[in-house]
Symmetry: C2
Subunit: 233 residues, 2 copies
C-alpha cells in the first residue's frame, strides 16, 4: 500500500489516531484488494488468516447450520473492520454484497501490531463494544419482534447507516436509498422468509409509509410512523 494518509476512510477507520510514523508502518503491512459482489473473503470455521478495513462497499457477516439455514449476523460498511483478531478460527463468513475494496492484513501480523499500539487496540475495543450493542439490539429483534416491526427496524437501520459518512454535519438519515440486500438476504438478517419480507414491504407501501420505486430502492414517506412501528408504539 502506498499512502495511508490519502485513504478515504483515514479518519473513520481504526487507523485514525495513529501517529504518522505508525501509520507508515501499518501501511507496509496491509495491501489493498478489490472484491467482486458475491465473493467470500472469510470462511466460517476456517483458520482466521486475515482481518481488514472496509474502504468501499458493503459486506455481510453470516453463520450457518449444517443443513444450510443461514443467519446474517452483521452488515459491514465503508470504514468498518472485519475479521476476528486474536482468535484461531473465524466463527463466521464474510461475503461482499456489492463490489468492494478492502485493506487487508494478515491476522497474526495485525495482532502483534495491535498489541504494540494501545491506541489502536483502544479504537478496536470501542468498535467491538459498539458492535456488541448492535448485536444485542438484534437479539431483541430476533427474539421478540413481529415481522412488521423487524422490517421497519431494518429500514431505519439501513437508512441511518448508509447515511453515516463520518462528516459529523451530514449524518443525515437518508429518506431514499438503495438496499445493498436482496429479499432473501433481508430475510436472512431478520429471521424471516423471502415471502414474508415481500408481503410486509408491500403492506408498508400500501399504507403509504414507504415507497418502492424499484426492487432495490426504498423511499421513506412517513418516518415517524415507521419509527412507531419499529418501536412497537
Amino acid at each position: 500500500m502506498k499512502d495511508c494518509t490519502q485513504c478515504i476512510v483515514r479518519n473513520r477507520a481504526i487507523c485514525a489516531g495513529l501517529e504518522p510514523d505508525e501509520l507508515e508502518v501499518l501501511g507496509q503491512l496491509g495491501r489493498r484488494q478489490r472484491v467482486a459482489k458475491g465473493q467470500t473473503v472469510v470462511w466460517e470455521g476456517d483458520d482466521s488468516v486475515v482481518v481488514a478495513n472496509v474502504i468501499e462497499g458493503v459486506l455481510k457477516v453470516s453463520m450457518s447450520i449444517s443443513d444450510g439455514r443461514e443467519q446474517i449476523v452483521g452488515i459491514v460498511f465503508s470504514s468498518d473492520f472485519i475479521g476476528r483478531p486474536f482468535g484461531q478460527q473465524s466463527p463466521y463468513s464474510v461475503t461482499a454484497l456489492t463490489d468492494a475494496e478492502l485493506c487487508i492484513f494478515s491476522r497474526s501480523t495485525f495482532d502483534s501490531f495491535a498489541r504494540q499500539h494501545p491506541e489502536l487496540e483502544h479504537k478496536l475495543l470501542r468498535r467491538t463494544l459498539n458492535e456488541l450493542d448492535r448485536a444485542h439490539e438484534w437479539m431483541l429483534l430476533l427474539g421478540k419482534k413481529t415481522a412488521t416491526e423487524r422490517i421497519a427496524t431494518l429500514l431505519l437501520e439501513m437508512s441511518a447507516r448508509l447515511g453515516e459518512t463520518g462528516c459529523s454535519a451530514d449524518d443525515s438519515t437518508l429518506d431514499a436509498f438503495q438496499l445493498p440486500l436482496d429479499r432473501q438476504q433481508m430475510g436472512d438478517v431478520l429471521g424471516l422468509t423471502i415471502e414474508t419480507v415481500s408481503r410486509q414491504l408491500s403492506k408498508l407501501k400500501a399504507d403509504g409509509v414507504i415507497n418502492l420505486p424499484d426492487r432495490r430502492t426504498v423511499a421513506i414517506q412517513d418516518r415517524d410512523r415507521l419509527q412507531d412501528i419499529a418501536a412497537a408504539a
Copy 2:
C-alpha cells in the same frame, strides 16, 4: 477493597495480568458489594455509572421493548465483566439471578484507569470479542433454530459455562447442574414462551435425553444425542 491478591477470581477476571502495584491501585478504586437475587444493578437507558467484575453468582443482561416484551441478551458468571465501559448510557439492564457478589467500579474511573493500562484494555478487548462471538451464535439460534434445537443448545451451553472454573484441568462439562434460570427466564433467553420451554423439556425427558429430578436441576443422560439435536444433525 482490601486485597485483590486474595480475590477468588484473581486469575480469571480482567485484572489478571496486572502488576502488583497496578492491582493495588485498582483495588483502591473498587468496592465489593453483595446483591440479592432479583436485584437490578444496572438499568437499561440509565447513565452508565458503574461497571463490575462478578466475583460470585449469576446475573442476566436484558433489553426490553416499551410494552414489556423482554429479551435476555446475556448470562454472566463468576469472573465475567459487566457494564458498558466507554459509553454514556447502558443499553441493557443487569439483574441478579442468584445472590451475587460484585467488585464495582465507577464507570468513568474505570475508563480512565483502563486507558492508562493497555494490558487491561487488551484483556477487555479479548473478552468483548468472545462475547460478540457468543452473541452471534445466539443470533443464529434466535433467527433460525427450532424450539427443540434452542432448548438443547441452552442446556449444553449452561452445562459448559457452569463447568468452567478457570482451572484448565477440570473444565469438565457438567452432566448434572442447577439451572440459575426459571422457565420464564429460559424462554426470555431463547425467544420462546414458558409453555413451549416446559413442553420441550418434558419431551427431552420422555425421550430419555435428559432427566429433571426437580424444577431447577437438569441431568444430561445422553450428551451425544443432545448435541445432535442442538446442531440439527
